[in-house]
Amino acid sequence: MRFGIVVNEGPYTRQASDSAYLFAKAALAKGHEIFRVFFYHDGVNNGTRFTVPPQDDRNLQRLWSELAETHKLDLVVCIAAAQRRGILDANEAKRQGKDGDNIAPGFRISGLGQLIEAGIQADRLVVFGD
């Protein structure tokens, strides 16, 4: 089956990102396809490479980045939600006149159309986070 995944919560405060990650990993292990993972609302905060969780805890951003690299996943951070919350790639940082960017490897910033497209193209769109 072809899944689309939506992550609506940031890391650590809630389990949503962990659950989405574990779901994605399990689905891939079973031979399913992940069309796209879309990060919305506070979920965009999963896509900053500047998180530094304690060393004895999981690093969710790194887990997502590694999963994306291994399985060529498309991790998309919503641009409108990201701009509100300070998640920028190099292009956006330049365009907005900011002095740095923080997007994590394997993530890309794009529009809400990517969410709708995931809904259209996937057999199931699975949403994580309230």
């Binding site: 609302h41 409108a80 509100r84 529009g111 809400l112 709708i116 809904g119 259209i120 769109l125």
Partner: protein, 138 residues
């Protein structure tokens, strides 16, 4: 594949009051962008989500952007099916008279202005949800 075959039933479920959290605003942003994809779109308003449609919203005191006018423009985006749960209104002491008049122009009926808001019982709402392909809940 024809466009028709790619057309899915999208339901946006709005459950929260308009200004306590960002969900109502960011839901609306998805609806507006999604309109360009020509899917079969419905919006549901349940629980505190019914407050999103209340007329006469004034956000001056909380310093937030009042985006309530956007709901009235939804008809221009071909978003014409707004299902408001009857019980959720009643539980909050509201009636349909407290809501903004939201309409669309029906091009198949000489552009007659028709109401977009449909009062829907809880049991009908369950049926509506069951028949969707994609549900985004905010």
């Amino acid at each position: 594949m024809s466009e028709q075959a790619n057309r899915k039933k999208f339901l946006y479920v709005n459950r929260r009051a308009p200004y306590g959290t960002i969900y109502a605003l960011e839901s609306l942003e998805v609806v507006l962008i999604g309109a360009a994809f020509e899917q079969d779109v419905s919006l549901a308003f349940i629980d505190d989500g019914v407050y999103q449609l209340v007329a006469g919203q004034d956000t001056a005191g909380v310093g937030m952007k009042n985006f309530s006018k956007t709901y009235r423009a939804l008809g221009d985006y071909e978003v014409r099916k707004l299902y408001v749960e009857r019980e959720s209104l009643a539980e909050r002491g509201l009636t349909v008279e407290d809501l903004m008049p939201i309409t669309y122009e029906d091009e198949d009926d000489d552009y007659a202005e028709k109401p977009s808001i449909h009062l829907t019982d809880r049991s009908e709402m369950a049926r509506l949800i069951a028949e969707q392909d994609v549900i985004l809940s905010f």
